[in-house]
């Protein structure tokens, strides 16, 4: 029986080796979960080639990349990590900004707190006890978490809200926390609102750009990447790509196609 298991295992191994490892792997920030999948699908359908995606907090992806993870490109949620890669000579050039991200307040429709751009009701709810827990992404690893902290500080809420924070490992997990019954709301990437709305009715508001450092989402390609990868980046920057990003709640950086 052991021999059977060995044969099966080895059989699998040879299959595996021939299968997926040739498809280029692209790392993308968690805020791009839905948008990236749409872009990759459209890219493939128009004959650009297959790409695999790996998601996570930008900081974690950066760390994995430095440790040797086989990513051929990193679509980060802001500039900082790409700039570091450029300084270390890991990426080909200084990177490309492909979208502008927006921070959004979101809560489930069952939450006793209502959404407004300057978090007024959140502030009131902190005082009258309606708000017990609030979700943000980890400010150490996730750009959206950093911006959330910035915004909360600038809006005068940080000291009061800090003891009540629930920290998500990346902004997608933060969206999970914001919707499940454990918190009464959270700050997430506006690009995730579409997917969240599919899960149930939500209340949301975009935080004014003035309250946080802009999320200039930058992408970097590694040297020697498969030709499909720079082609994909070009697609993302094309009007078609930018309009997909816009649909998912990002602000375009290049002219987008109509519709």
């Amino acid at each position: 029986m052991m021999l059977m298991a060995a044969a099966v295992g080895l059989g699998f191994e040879t299959c595996r080796l021939s299968a997926d490892t040739n498809t280029p792997l692209v790392a993308a920030a968690a805020s791009l979960r839905d948008a990236m999948q749409a872009l990759v699908d459209e890219f493939r359908q128009s004959g650009g080639g297959r790409l695999n995606l790996a998601f996570g907090a930008s900081g974690n992806l950066y760390r994995q990349l430095r440790q040797g993870a086989p990513f051929q490109a990193l679509f980060s949620a802001d500039e900082s990590y790409i700039d570091r890669l450029a300084a270390d000579g890991v990426i080909e050039d200084s990177g490309q900004i492909y979208a502008l991200g927006r921070l959004a307040l979101v809560m489930s429709h069952r939450s006793p707190v209502t959404a407004d751009p300057r978090l007024m009701d959140v502030s009131a709810a902190l005082d009258d006890g309606r708000l017990k827990r609030f979700a943000i992404a980890n400010p150490v690893h996730a750009p959206y978490g950093q911006r959330a902290r910035e915004a909360l500080e600038n809006l005068g809420l940080w000291n009061r809200i800090e003891p009540r924070l629930v920290v998500g490992e990346n902004v997608a997990q933060t969206a999970q926390f914001a919707l499940n019954g454990a918190t009464q709301g959270g700050l997430v990437a506006s690009s995730l609102l579409l997917a969240m709305a599919r899960q149930g009715t939500i209340k949301s508001a975009l935080i004014p750009q003035s309250e946080y450092t802009p999320l200039r989402q930058k992408a970097g390609l590694l040297a020697g990447a498969d030709p499909a990868v720079p082609a994909f980046l070009a697609f993302v920057l094309s009007p078609r790509g930018q309009s997909i990003l816009e649909r998912y709640g990002f602000d375009p950086v290049r002219p987008s196609a109509a519709g």
Binding site: F12, R16, G68, Q176, R198
Partner: protein
């Protein structure tokens, strides 16, 4: 339904069983019947993965196998790929964190074989190998079966160490457990539910099959 992730999980579990059980059997037998200096310490080291949180294990594995380590660099010079974030790295990590699940049930089983049976075998002219193959192993077999079942099921379900050492690379290190986590984060609750059910079904069937065929023999 992520079939690739399922295939990866099964491969990892099978490979771990095949590669780990024979050396673990040797270790278990030595622990059971030989008194040697430092045995207590050796047993404690083997038992470590039982008590350490997966993150601690993952951390040390990253240190030992990562790009900065001598092992990692040797592997990289050999194959051009990193050891972490690769399936091979996962297999290596799996062999280590499954050690107590393999050794301990077998050690208990060997300890349960009375020493005078081995002596009777030697006095009957059986060599050490023959004694092992014909007397010790059949009597310790339920323990071996238990170890295989435990290692298989435990590897199927391992999450923390796999995530830290393997990352989440589709087709390479995204096992079913990771894929489920991923799907939940993508709000694909239905997909996560399907995969969880499949994993549950496989685990139960594997354990049942192994216990039905292997247990209770020779008793």
């Amino acid at each position: 339904m992520d079939w690739i992730a399922l295939r990866l999980s099964l491969q990892l579990s099978l490979l771990t069983c095949v590669l780990l059980i024979p050396p673990a059997l040797w270790i278990a037998r030595r622990f059971a019947w030989h008194r040697f200096r430092g045995r207590g310490l050796a047993e404690a080291v083997v038992a470590l993965p039982l008590v350490l949180p997966p993150t601690v294990l993952g951390y040390y594995l990253l240190v030992a196998l990562g790009g900065e380590s001598s092992l990692g660099q040797w592997y990289q010079s050999l194959t051009g790929n990193t050891l972490v974030f690769s399936f091979e790295g996962l297999v290596l990590a799996s062999l280590l964190f499954n050690l107590p699940f393999a050794v301990q049930p077998m050690q208990r089983a060997f300890e349960g074989v009375p020493v005078n049976l081995r002596e009777a075998a030697w006095c009957s002219g059986l060599s050490n190998w023959e004694t092992f193959w014909r007397i010790e192993l059949p009597l310790a077999w339920p323990g071996v079966v238990g170890a295989i079942a435990l290692v298989f099921a435990h590897t199927l379900g391992e999450f923390g160490v796999v995530l830290m050492v393997g990352g989440n690379i589709p087709g390479e290190t995204r096992t079913t457990a990771i894929a489920i986590y991923d799907q939940v984060q993508s709000f694909d609750i239905r997909g996560a539910g399907i995969m969880s059910l499949v994993l549950l079904g496989i685990s139960i069937s594997a354990m049942a099959l192994v216990f039905m065929t292997g247990g209770r023999r020779g008793q």
